[in-house]
């Protein structure tokens, strides 16, 4: 969906997974930006109709970038900086409790 522009300052590479698939991000990017840069089309399914959604505003307002990060749901991907080894997952519907315990 997104690609790097022609000239861009270098940054340290960070490894993370999305739904178990290994991906590489860039230090300084948010989780939502990292997903967009890796070609991820949708990051959640709505609780009302299971419809796929993607980040919409990228500024903390719309809550369409909600994802599960390291087992904790309802995280706003656009406000969380990516870090090494992060396990990011699609949020299916509402937040599932007990994820953090598994």
């Amino acid at each position: 969906m997104f690609r790097p522009m022609r000239e861009r300052a270098a940054a340290a590479a960070l490894n993370f997974t999305f739904d178990g698939r290994p991906m590489t991000g860039r230090a300084g990017d948010t989780v939502a930006a990292s997903l967009l840069a890796n070609g991820i089309v949708a990051c959640r399914e709505t609780p009302v109709s299971d419809t796929p959604r993607a980040p919409y505003c990228l500024m903390g307002v719309c809550f369409d970038c909600l994802v599960v990060i390291d087992g904790i749901g309802n995280r706003q991907g656009c406000l969380v900086p990516l870090s090494e080894g992060m396990r990011i997952e699609t949020q299916h519907g509402r937040r599932q409790f007990g994820e953090a315990l598994s």
Binding site: M1, F2, R3, P4, M5, R6, E7, R8, A9, A10, A11, R26, G28, D29, T30, A33, L36, A37, G39, V41, A42, T46, V48, S49, T51, P52, R53, A54, P55, Y56, C57, L58, M59, G60, V61, C62, F63, D64, L66, N74, C78, L79, P81
Partner: protein
């Protein structure tokens, strides 16, 4: 500036808490610290700058011409803040504000950082929570591939990434042209810019034209127009839009009067102007009114940006849309006001120091009214005519449902509408549906948005977990309130 990484290191109380690290918040924080106030500036983003100067200290965009000199002006504002004595808490969400019962006249704010919450006291508060893009509900705007124009700009500033396929930019307002020029410079394949500015706006805007012609906006506008209009495919007079696709955007259906065409695209960036973010000020109990020219709810403020709640001021675009330079100046004026109320600055000193800032502000705001009037959204983009259009993205409530509830069930206002349809009750707390719900009710009932009213918002203004609340230390009074 002292950065805070752990909420445990934040002090119990400050003279002033500023919410938001955009130009208004940063300038307010610097000025207040210079006047001897203890200042905490809390911001939910990881780096300072707000949205307009997003990632100004970290952006990977190396070619300065792409984002333009107006963006790089933010470096100076942040540098000045970094030299100040203020405390800065990035990645910190402020989710509530209320009276501090231990110190009458002061406030208690709920802050959350790194998964831990604390209640911090402030004698004065400046809300610099800025603006958000006006909701632009069209059929299909919830499809992956559709984003706001502001989101694409944030991706560019923050991460140096641009939409990878055929891109369409649609809507109206100065940002539309700015984004088109920035994305084109960054190598995006822009297949069309769809301008929804109603031609009928010109008659109303003409009266404000002389001021605009003498304003700094004119030169900027002409430069942008020259950079975009000749080079990109511009379609003006757009009267209807619908994003198409099954699970993902595939194209956009464009109506220009009776002419209809479909443009295949992979990314659609929507923009219909910006609105003051009212969630926090509304939840704080500040009085608001509906401004017809900005077509938005604005807080009622005095000349020092003080709200109807004594001790809470609102600076920046949250006080009414004025742009980045104005926001910084308003932040300074609000800081003078706060310092005066705390007795750190005499009345004559306050007035004298604020005078040159006010003069510059009035120069900066000249011409703004023309922009408000010329880019006022068309009614069909404020309240979608197609019944099936989703207007509450969280609860998936449609325009037809709201119209039906207003017409058949006699629902008169947005708060009652919540009870019937759940619109505004999802995680975004009405940020993406509030203005549309008001507009739909107003149009259906044939009354004004002012008469229709707005959602009554309440803290927490941002989600906070029960675990964070439960971990807060309980005061003796709080324990006595529930334990007998």
């Amino acid at each position: 500036m002292t950065p805070v990484k752990d909420i445990a290191t934040v002090a119990e109380a400050y003279d002033l808490i500023v919410v938001g690290a955009g130009p208004a918040g940063l300038s307010a924080g610097v000025r207040a610290a210079e006047l001897g106030l203890s200042v905490l500036l809390a911001d939910e983003n990881p780096t300072p700058g707000g949205q307009i100067y997003r990632a100004i200290t970290t952006t990977p965009v190396t070619d300065r011409s792409i984002l333009g000199e107006d963006y790089w002006r933010g470096s100076g504002i942040v540098a000045r803040f970094e030299k100040s004595a203020a405390t800065y808490a990035p990645g910190c969400t402020v989710w509530s504000i209320g009276p501090d019962e231990a110190t009458p006249g002061s406030f208690e704010l709920g802050l959350s950082l790194g998964g831990k919450a604390r209640m911090i006291s402030a004698a004065q508060v400046i809300l610099a929570t800025g603006a958000q893009e006006r909701p632009f509900p069209i059929p299909g705007w919830t499809l992956p591939g559709v984003m706001t124009a502001g989101a694409a700009q944030i991706a560019l500033k923050g991460s140096g990434i641009v939409p990878s396929g055929r891109t369409v930019i649609a809507g109206c307002g100065p940002l539309l042209y700015l984004l088109a020029s920035q994305l084109a410079a960054a190598g995006t394949e822009i297949v069309a810019v769809l301008d929804t500015t109603p031609r009928s706006n010109w008659s109303k805007a003409l009266a404000a034209l002389p001021d605009f012609l003498r304003s700094p906006y004119l030169a900027k506008g002409l430069k942008l127009m020259a950079a975009t209009r000749g080079k990109l495919r511009f379609l003006t007079g757009v009267t209807g839009l619908a994003a198409q696709g099954e699970k993902q955007l595939g194209g956009i259906r464009v109506e220009r009067g009776s002419r209809v065409e479909t443009i295949p695209c992979d990314a659609l960036l929507l923009h219909q102007g910006v609105l003051p973010s009212v969630n926090f000020s509304n939840a704080a109990g500040c009085e608001h009114y509906f401004d017809e020219e900005q077509h938005a709810w604005l807080p009622r403020l005095d000349e020092w940006y003080a709200s109807s709640v004594a001790g809470i001021a609102i600076a920046g675009d949250g006080a009414g849309i004025g742009g980045a330079e104005s926001a910084a100046l308003r932040g300074e004026i609000a800081a003078f006001g706060a310092a005066f109320r705390l007795g750190k600055l005499g009345e004559s000193q306050r007035d004298a120091q604020a005078a040159p800032v006010r003069a510059e502000l009035s120069r900066r705001l000249r011409g703004r009214r023309f922009l408000d009037l010329i880019y006022k959204p068309a009614p069909q983009f404020l309240a979608p005519p197609q019944d099936e259009t989703i207007i509450c993205r969280c609860e998936e409530v449609t325009a037809g449902q709201v119209r039906d509830a207003a017409a058949r069930l006699g629902v008169t206002g947005p708060n009652q509408m919540k009870a019937f349809l759940r619109c505004g009750m999802g995680p975004c707390q009405g940020r993406l549906c509030g203005p549309t719900v008001v507009e739909l009710i107003a149009q259906t009932r044939g009354v004004s948005p002012a008469e229709t009213g707005y959602y009554r918002l309440r803290p927490p203004v941002k989600p906070v977990t029960l675990a964070e609340l439960a971990a807060l230390p309980a005061t003796e009074a709080a324990v006595k309130a529930v334990v007998r």
